[in-house]
């Protein structure tokens, strides 16, 4: 069966939706994600929808459901990368995705999750010492 891959990264789980989802695939993703949150004890969920050309009420409802279920399981959800045309359409449709945190892109979404969870931002390397003894930027 077709599935959308879910990646685990530290205390987060990441999903990037790259296909035009039929309804069953959306339902499967909802189930898989909640199972993965529990299995990996994730504290944050990041869903990248930058490849989605539309979000109709069904997909919108799925995103809302995932955020609600994750919250009950003690995890925060951020939806990132919504295209401008999709945002305009979604609001006119009557769905402003209440209860779903959003961010412009993956990077901002990760920052938002870390800020919400109080996790320090990883810089990837130890700060180097400058000659005058202060850390360099």
């Amino acid at each position: 069966m077709e599935r959308i891959p879910i990646l685990k990264m530290g205390e987060f789980v990441l999903v990037s939706i790259q296909v035009d989802m039929h309804d069953q695939l959306a339902m499967t993703l909802q189930d898989d994600l909640t199972a993965q949150i529990v299995r990996s004890r994730a504290k944050g969920v990041l869903i990248d929808i930058s490849a989605l050309e539309i979000v109709d009420s069904f997909i919108g409802r799925m995103l809302g459901n995932i955020a609600s279920m994750a919250r009950v399981l003690d995890a925060e959800t951020v939806v990132v990368g919504m295209r401008p045309a999709v945002a305009i359409t979604l609001v006119e449709l009557g769905m402003a995705l209440p209860g779903v945190k959003t961010a412009l892109n993956v990077e901002r979404g990760m920052e938002l999750l870390r800020a919400t969870l109080g996790t320090p931002v990883e810089t990837g390397r130890a700060p180097a010492e400058s000659p005058n003894g202060h850390p360099q930027n």
Partner: protein
């Protein structure tokens, strides 16, 4: 008003909803709709195709490419032989649903297009015609 081209699609399964979205998108691109207009029409089509599948067990969508006084448009007609809608005014209201959805389909779809016409007879079926002009 000239009808330049027509095509009819069957909606019998959830996969057909995806197919309707793809074909409507291709037509909207061909008619040189803006990205926002494409997205609105495809989203409206997705809502109405799903409604047809959920409440009538399926139906058909007819696409028509229109030209009127130099304007280009697309018209979609969703036709089913389901139970029909007893109270159209109520069905159009946001938040009203007899199913498990959000009740945004009909009213939401209407807001996304320029023309919206609904005819329904209980026990006979429903026909919804929408159009969007460039």
């Amino acid at each position: 008003m000239g009808i330049l081209r027509t095509e009819k699609l069957a909606v019998d399964s959830a996969d057909d909803i995806v197919r309707v979205r793809q074909v409507v998108r291709a037509w909207a691109i061909e008619r040189r709709f803006s990205l926002v207009d494409q997205t609105k029409l495809v989203t409206a089509a997705s809502e109405l195709a799903r409604n047809m599948l959920l409440y009538a067990g399926g139906g058909t969508v007819e696409l028509e490419s229109l030209e009127e006084q130099g304007r280009h448009g697309l018209r979609l007609t969703f036709e089913d032989h389901g139970p029909g809608i007893a109270d159209i005014g109520l069905a159009m209201k946001d938040g009203y649903t007899t199913g498990s959805g959000l009740g945004l389909g009909l009213g939401g779809a209407k807001r996304l297009v320029n023309e919206f016409d609904i005819q329904s007879r209980p026990g006979v079926g429903t026909s919804i015609r929408i159009a969007r002009w460039r």
